[in-house]
């Protein structure tokens, strides 16, 4: 809908959210067809991807088994770097999850309608990523059989975890986050699950989707309650986007370790999380558009461009944090702080630091150019760079440990093959779960996309004239 201003006659057309002007039925069939294919007609790309990622996920299990059998000595951790890739991977995966919640909750509160086409699979990505993240705190404890000790479980020895420990806060934060995200994701999916139920041809599908759709009939009253519930869940999830990664940042920032203990950490981590998460959504969206061409009308180039803009903004927020940290390290007058930062940039891990700065701050500046924001190969490459850069950010932070207060214990951390395969294996787990989602559940929020179409406007068929301010 466009509105003409009175004097200047300047018309600013809204970018259409969906291409090809599909009607409601077309949206239903476009999306349902993806997962309604019988098992024998599953596309080949899906099997290839599923087998590879499934094998990698198995590999993760093997690595965990090996770790449990042999002990954490199989990892590269040692004094002074007692926290190696496990915490890096944990923060990396939790961070990835944040974009999904930002898209589904915060952008909803901000009335960003373009979010509808990406929000479902972004939320699914959140859940897969949080599952991957949850693996690492569980296995890094060394004695996996007592991992339950992280939870405040009443036990016969009346011993409780330290409630002042940020690691315990993590349990609560990530646990809450997973629960809220899963509920939000599921609530949002109910109308679409009902569509699946109604279209189901086999008895099993009818029953399964029938149970999952909780008796949804699409009546007026149901929609009214549904929308209130959705709004409330969005409101509840919004602070979670901020709080979870803030708590994760306190894992570092509460310690008196130069380079870790700095007050900007909570918002800085949140910005970084959204940045990395958007990069992952971008990566997955571009791949999904490639293998599921039906999505191209919904995840348009304009949607991708908007995501690129958010990546640019959050990338610069992260850049702001890097520079503020560096400045305050000097300003503090504290020689340990100064050393920590100079050592980051020019010490033995200089390569990691500059990889981080290049990938997160310098390369995303290419997005200032509109043409590049709208070129899919460039978007894909830059999203990969960001994924790499954000992993390195956490690596750089953790490696502050390698030069502690006692120079005689300084050491150069090197990961082992077990570290590497555990990390690669976590990608396997992530992709396996995500592929299962794509195969069996509605990959796009059909009901929400229908709701933002011009034809969803009650006056669509009356050729509504633009109301004038005089009449308003």
């Amino acid at each position: 809908m466009s509105v003409t201003a009175e004097n200047t006659g300047l018309v600013i057309e809204d970018i259409p959210l969906v291409k090809g002007d599909p009607d409601f039925h077309k949206i239903t069939t476009d999306i349902c067809r993806i997962s309604e294919k019988p098992i024998t007609k599953t596309p080949r790309w899906w099997w290839i991807a599923f087998i590879i990622s499934g094998m990698l996920a198995m590999n993760l299990l093997i690595m965990i088994g090996y770790l449990a059998w042999e002990g954490v000595g199989v990892w590269g951790v040692n004094i002074p770097v007692g926290w190696g890739w496990a915490i890096v991977n944990f923060v990396f995966w939790v961070g990835i999850g944040h974009a999904g919640t930002l898209i589904s909750a915060i952008l909803f509160l901000f009335r960003q309608k373009w979010r509808t086409s990406i929000n479902r699979f972004a939320e699914a990505m959140t859940i897969c990523a949080v599952i991957c993240a949850g693996v690492f705190p569980g296995i890094h404890v060394g004695r996996i059989w007592v991992a339950y000790f992280m939870f405040p479980v009443p036990n016969q020895m009346s011993i409780w975890p330290n409630f002042r420990s940020p690691l315990l806060w993590d349990i609560f934060a990530v646990g809450t986050y997973f629960t809220a995200s899963a509920l939000f994701w599921y609530t949002g999916m109910i109308p679409d699950l009902a569509t699946y139920r109604d279209r189901a041809k086999s008895k099993i599908k009818k029953v399964v989707f029938g149970i999952l759709s909780l008796g949804w009939r699409g009546g007026n009253r149901q929609w009214k309650h549904y929308e209130v519930a959705y709004l409330l869940l969005a409101g509840i999830s919004t602070p979670l986007v901020l709080s979870v990664h803030s708590v994760v940042s306190t894992d570092f920032a509460t310690s008196i370790v130069p380079g870790w203990h700095t007050t900007i950490f909570p918002p800085y981590f949140v910005a970084g999380a959204i940045f990395s998460g958007f990069a992952m959504v971008m990566t997955l969206a571009i791949l999904a558009r490639k293998v599921l061409p039906a999505l191209q009308n919904y995840i348009t180039i304009d949607t991708l461009e908007r995501m690129a803009k958010i990546m640019m903004v959050t990338g610069m927020m992260v850049g702001y944090a890097y520079s503020t940290e560096f400045f305050i390290a000097w300003y503090s007058g504290n020689m340990y702080e100064r050393f920590a930062f100079i050592n980051r940039a020019f010490g033995p891990y200089w390569w990691a630091y500059w990889t981080m700065v290049s990938c997160n701050v310098i390369i995303p500046q290419l997005f200032w150019i509109r043409k590049l924001r709208r070129t899919i190969p460039v978007l894909f490459a830059l999203s990969i760079f960001t994924n790499i850069g954000m992993w390195f950010e956490r690596f750089v932070i953790v490696m502050s440990l390698h030069a502690d207060y006692l120079p005689s214990s300084w050491d150069y951390y090197k990961p082992t093959w077990v570290d590497a395969w555990t990390f690669i294996g976590s990608f396997g787990l992530f992709l396996t779960l995500f592929l299962l989602f794509i195969r069996f559940l509605p990959v796009m929020a059909m009901s929400e996309v229908k709701g933002v179409l011009p034809r969803a406007n009650p006056h669509f068929h009356h050729n509504m004239p633009p109301a004038h301010k005089g009449e308003a």
Binding site: T8, V11, R164, T254, T262, I264, P267, Y320, N334, H468
Partner: protein
């Protein structure tokens, strides 16, 4: 005060501007008296008021730039208000002059820097005279601007502990003199205002141009072309303004989040200020149909949100400092937890967050003009109190000590601020009535 509802222009400005001017002049005159009566109290009160009104000003600039880069529609009708607030920024530079004059009273590092500079020269001469004397290693440390490290600690073992701690403090502050020195401070403040002025004027001129025929698509695009780099420049200038004006009051202390903290306070300030003025206009029948209840609801939401952002930043700072418990950091909260400062700390915790959080969450409060205005005024007071709480413990470390100068400086700067704001506001249409998104802004509804 008379208003032409068809052109969205004031035909008669009314007395509001004159009243503001009179209040401002009285406030400035009384404050000027204070300058001679109680100079250091004047300086600290002035800095608080200055930081308060500048934060409202840059809040306006941020609101406008955010509006443009996010392609916002709902805020089209509120935009002109924020624009008129942001163009007060260049005028506020005038009020920085007393800060420049009284820097020696405000900032400890001014004296230390001077002494340090003198000492350096003295030592330098000393060194030339007794070039090979062994005792000079001690001074050599000072010369190379080393901070209080283990060497100086070991070397000055014979000094009394307090003296030693004092000397360590002086050395630490002196080591920052490359940044904290008078000329650079003044230059930086000028740069901040220059950056804000450039973006504020450019955006304002473009916006006024929009009211006349001949506003093209390219002009429309320029809003964004200006705002995108503007917001980056804004982030750094506001951060460093906070470091300079407020954080360096206690030069040994540092916090990386401090810039964001001041920024978030300013955002609370701008939302609250806009709500107060809009409701005031509404009571006089101005912009009744254009700023609908939906806009108040949205303004209220943002006020609520920015208040939480402020609390989030403050709490991040507090939690991390409390937890690590390093004396050089906890001193900030320690100073604000002595005497009556303790009460004020609690007032801010409850008044700036807990109470408004519970009450402003309600949809009904946000959609009631009087209740919303009440909380807007409430939060403006809290924002001022927050700045007061940041500035004053340096002057009155023992206990909070209210002064009449706190009031007169607020009247002085605030009166002139409001006068300039009102003059700008009434000069042009109060609504960007030619904006292509205007109809959508007026029609939108919260679900």
């Amino acid at each position: 005060m008379q208003f032409d509802n068809t052109k969205y222009e004031f035909t008669d400005r009314g007395k509001a501007g004159t009243i503001a001017l009179v209040v401002g002049v009285i406030g400035l005159v009384l404050s000027a008296v204070g300058f001679f009566v109680d100079r250091s109290q004047f300086m600290f009160s002035w800095l608080t008021s200055f930081a308060f009104w500048v934060s409202i000003g840059f809040g306006g600039l941020f609101f406008v730039m955010l509006h443009h880069i996010t392609n916002a529609k709902w805020s089209v009708t509120a935009r002109r208000m924020a624009e008129n607030i942001m163009v007060t920024l260049p005028w506020l530079l005038i009020f920085a002059i007393p800060v420049f004059i009284g820097m020696g009273d405000l900032y400890e590092w001014v004296e230390i820097g001077k002494a340090h500079h003198g000492e350096k020269q003295a030592i330098h001469l000393d060194l030339i005279e007794t070039a090979h004397a062994s005792e000079d290693t001690n001074h050599g440390n000072t010369l190379s601007e080393e901070t209080h490290d283990s060497h100086s600690e070991a070397n000055s073992g014979h000094v009394e502990h307090d003296d030693h701690a004092h000397q360590a403090h002086i050395d630490l502050v002196a080591s920052k003199s490359g940044f904290l020195n008078v000329p650079f401070f003044v230059i930086r403040t000028l740069i901040y205002f220059a950056v804000w002025t450039i973006f504020a004027f450019a955006l304002y001129r473009l916006s006024i141009k929009q009211d006349k025929p001949g506003f093209t698509l390219n002009d429309w695009k320029r809003f964004k072309v200006l705002s995108a780099p503007g917001i980056i420049a804004f982030a750094f200038t506001v951060t460093f303004a906070a470091f300079d004006w407020l954080m360096s009051l206690f030069p040994a202390w540092y916090s990386t989040i401090y810039g964001l903290y001041y920024f978030a306070g300013g955002l609370v300030g701008i939302m609250a200020f806009m709500i107060v003025v809009f409701v005031g206009l509404r009571k006089r029948g101005i912009l009744e149909k254009e700023i609908t209840i939906e806009h108040y609801h949205d303004l209220g939401k943002l006020l609520f949100a920015f208040m939480i952002v402020w609390a989030y930043f403050s709490f991040s700072q507090y939690l991390l400092i409390w937890y690590a418990n390093i004396p050089e950091e906890t001193i900030y909260y320690h100073n604000r937890w002595t005497g009556s400062w303790k009460a004020m700390t609690l007032i801010i915790v409850f008044g700036h967050f807990v109470i408004p959080f519970v009450l402003l969450m309600s949809r009904h409060v946000k959609r009631s003009f009087d209740a919303l205005r009440f909380f807007a005024i409430w939060l403006l007071v809290m924002h001022w109190l927050d700045l007061y709480w940041n500035v004053m413990p340096v002057l009155h470390p023992e206990s909070a000590l209210p002064s009449w100068l706190d009031l007169t400086t607020m009247m002085g700067i605030g009166g002139i601020f409001l006068f300039i704001f009102w003059r700008n506001f009434t000069k042009h249409a109060v609504l960007a009535f030619n904006d292509p998104k205007l109809d959508e802004s007026i029609e939108f509804q919260n679900i």
